[in-house]
């Protein structure tokens, strides 16, 4: 299994659903794949103290996050039999209802992709130095917990 170079996972702003559709379509030539497991994180319009979250602004320690993501990829590829793996995380403003995280694992048999995606999402949340600032409709904010 060849490992890819650590790609930049960060994109500015929301991840577009039509791009997700295109990324799925781009895998139709890989006819060893039997299953894709996708996780999408979407910004919730949570209500707190009478205010509603209208967006989350993401910042990251980018160099450290990419290095850590590379380690996560290596560990996942050595643990599961994957054909490919793509991860995208937003930076900057993502409005409520928009997508901020896209994890996309593909494998010959479904189990590997399903388990890989779940584990990667958990690792991203616990281990990547990324912070979300919840911005309310009145432009006040609080740091996401």
């Amino acid at each position: 299994m060849t490992h890819r170079n650590p790609n930049n996972i960060f994109i500015q702003g929301a991840i577009s659903p039509s791009q997700i559709g295109k990324d799925i379509a781009a895998h139709q030539g890989k006819t060893r794949i039997g299953g894709h497991s996708i996780f999408l994180g979407q910004v919730r319009a949570d209500e707190m103290q009478g205010q509603t979250v209208r967006a989350i602004e993401y910042t990251a320690y980018e160099a450290m996050a990419l290095d850590k993501m590379h380690q996560i990829r290596e560990a996942i590829f050595s643990k599961y039999s994957l054909v490919c793996l793509h991860v995208y995380h937003s930076l900057g403003i993502v409005a409520s209802g928009e997508i901020c995280l896209f994890v996309f694992s593909s494998s010959v048999h479904r189990k590997d992709a399903i388990m890989a995606t779940e584990e990667i999402v958990n690792n991203i949340k616990s281990s990547l130095p990324i912070w979300g600032k919840e911005i309310f409709t009145n432009d006040e904010y609080q740091w996401k917990k």
């Binding site: 999402v121 991203i124 949340k125 130095p129 990324i130 912070w131 979300g132 740091w143």
Partner: protein, 78 residues
């Protein structure tokens, strides 16, 4: 002049008012935490990890002049 570069993230940017500061060189991470708390008393009740040159540091670590430290409050990506 021997300095440590310090990157500040997340809610700590509110406590410190900047996302990058410079500190006079100290020998290890425990001395650094002490100096940091003296300069920014508002950090005393904050939870955060230190990274040195992009590596998380959970125990005391010896520092070299020019090291880049980062103050990392709990992650909240995804």
């Amino acid at each position: 002049m021997s300095v440590l570069e310090v990157l500040v993230f997340g809610q700590l940017t509110d406590s410190i008012g900047k996302d990058r500061i410079h500190f006079s060189y100290v020998q290890d991470t425990e001395l650094f935490r002490k100096a940091l708390n003296e300069s920014f008393p508002g950090l005393r009740d904050k939870t955060f990890l230190l990274a040195v040159n992009q590596e998380l540091v959970l125990k005391k670590k010896i520092l070299k002049p020019g090291d880049t430290l980062a103050l990392l409050p709990p992650f909240s990506g995804g």
